[in-house]
Symmetry: C3
Subunit: 277 residues, 3 copies
């Protein structure tokens, strides 16, 4: 695909999501659970959140895609997250993984290891999380420890390039690395997406809600186009919201407004550059 | 009651809630738990949320009413929700049930079945949820499956008329069916309430927070007047907030502002029509 | 310290937090978990929330301070809250305790009793909670029951003066009592801080998020200065946000904006008075 073809597919994905009202269930953390749901609704999806194994399976069966985020780990997730991912994998349903705070606890590590065999369609994270996941799954030749601190990245997006490509090749899907400039790859194409705002790092949930929005797009587009559409949209909305905001409080509300208002053209024309893999 | 008497009682309920600061505890889902609390506070109530059986009982004993919403089911709720509902029933305290996502899992179904004997004062839901609950409780002669999808309704409000009346007759309380036009019934009266905004369907929690607000009103008015007061208020606030909002983000904030600012007259004069049951 | 020295240290704390991006993990309630994180980020900290014992320990080890709030008690907290507090105590890391809704359930009472030996650096609560905690820990000579109702205080701030001083003397740290006028003490100094807005009582989380913000400051200042800096900041931000807000919805967003925008001078110059202990 050349850039023009990619842009066309992005525009189509934005419009299809607006028209679809497609169900994209989530098993996610409680810090940003409300923001994830509202972001999914803003772009035209339908949101439903659950913690339980049988309900996760039902969402997998009834929805067009799912979003799984391992933040605020809870005991029941030891059972319900791998079970739901397995069902998604068996049904060939697209799902997005957000490996938040990878490395910070036993259940979290267990669950993230299990996900290797269920191949998430899109992995979204900051640079440190992407490097850590590629290491956990043994995909890097010289796996050194990444530098996850709490939920923050201490690595640059480009430092995660090799890990992102390795993950995308393993899953056959796509990887989105969020940072000042964002990186999206399917293992063959590598796109850098520009825009956003530093305010996105001073609110909680800009990453989680992007994962949820990518899940909505993954129900109507390929993993690579879904990851890129969500990433472009967030760069458009972040830039526009920051221009209006008086601080991080109003920024959040304007940001949701911009997610709701962005047109297919707005999203497809956000600045991107393509690199060789 | 004629419409004028109903309107008078609505205005009284709004003012009493503003003056009361009455405690209306909740056992609810984590997606919209913050919005529920803020909506209850905006109309003059006091909010407190818990998951634990002994604390649910304490809230039932110490508060004027309670709100129980089965979204984001968790293991402890298998014990704590029926126990709390039983205490409320024994104490003759009003409580509001929101049967979110009915049918999507085992614990959820078990809990909702148990609630039949504890007769919620108000049931609030979308059309599909109301039909599904009436079916689950065996109240409909020809119970066909409703069409709950995730947390969404795929049935129209009027399609739930028979189910709503059957539920109200069983509980001796009231039922509020939320949709484009809302239906409120106590089994004898049937009121349609107009207004609101399509944006209420593109944010999460407009239904849940209405349930919490109805619980506040149920502490100071009859179930029927409480359900109608909350429903009217939401139609007023939704319409006004949509007129100011630039999207679904600012809509949420203006909506809370309008809940806080609406006068007894604003709420009592919202357009309603009465139908024969 | 005289008032001028206190003000100088407050200004320094505000600036250090803005420059630090220091990790201040939380184990807190789900009603206001998002607000706590956003408030911590607004003042320059980094937020990470967990429920699990091993992850709580990791946050204690890796962060500069922690915030523990016992609202929306869950089963796992019976293990993870005392364990994390013990680790914090052993590592001499500052931590802030918010004894929300003290007295409302068995696990909550057990956990709060255990905290006595792990001496929180700052205790923040409303007057009724502070009195109840001092009673629970046996620090008051004539301990009568306080009047906690749900999550609300029914006692005045000054009524908690003796309890606040007793707690501060026991922990060797500080206590912040939130109310119309706020009281901060380290057992030797006693400061009253003025400002804020009545709207802070009609939204949920102004107290919890203050606790989280004090935890950020406690990573860069003494417990007493941290408690006072957070309290002053909240009085500044509350007053300014209320002047702009059209209701409790917009108030929340403007409030976060003001947390983000307040300068060291704004916070240090908020009106305070010193009293003899």
């Amino acid at each position: 695909m050349n850039t023009q073809e990619i842009q066309h597919q992005i525009a189509t994905a934005v419009q299809m999501a607006k028209d679809s009202d497609i169900l994209s269930g989530s098993m996610t953390n409680n810090v940003t659970i409300n923001f994830v749901a509202n972001a999914q609704l803003a772009v035209g999806g339908s949101a439903a959140m659950t913690y339980m194994p049988d309900e996760g399976e039902n969402l997998a069966r009834n929805g067009g895609s799912m979003y799984i985020n391992v933040g605020t780990m809870q005991t029941i997730y030891e059972e319900s997250l791998p079970h739901t991912a397995q069902v998604l994998h068996e049904l060939h349903k697209p799902w997005v993984l957000d490996p938040v705070a990878i490395g910070s606890g036993k259940i979290r590590t267990y669950v993230l290891k299990r996900f290797k065999e269920y191949k998430p369609s899109v992995v979204r994270g900051n640079a440190s999380e992407i490097i850590a996941l590629a290491n956990l799954w043994g995909l890097l030749e010289e796996g050194g420890p990444s530098r996850v601190r709490g939920v923050d990245s201490t690595d640059s997006v480009l430092a995660a390039k090799e890990a992102a490509i390795a993950l995308a090749k393993w899953t056959g899907g796509a990887v989105a690395v969020s940072g000042e400039t964002d990186l999206v790859t399917d293992g063959n194409h590598l796109i850098m997406s520009y825009g956003g705002s530093v305010m996105m790092t001073r609110i909680t949930g800009s990453g989680c809600s992007l994962g949820g929005v990518i899940a909505v797009y993954a129900a109507v587009a390929s993993p690579f186009i879904a990851a890129l559409t969500g990433t472009n949209l967030y760069n458009v909305a972040g830039k526009r919201a920051a221009a209006k905001a008086g601080g991080t409080g109003t920024f959040q509300m304007y940001f949701l407004d911009e997610l709701y208002n962005a047109t297919p053209q707005d999203v497809s024309e956000n600045e991107i550059t393509a690199e060789e893999v």
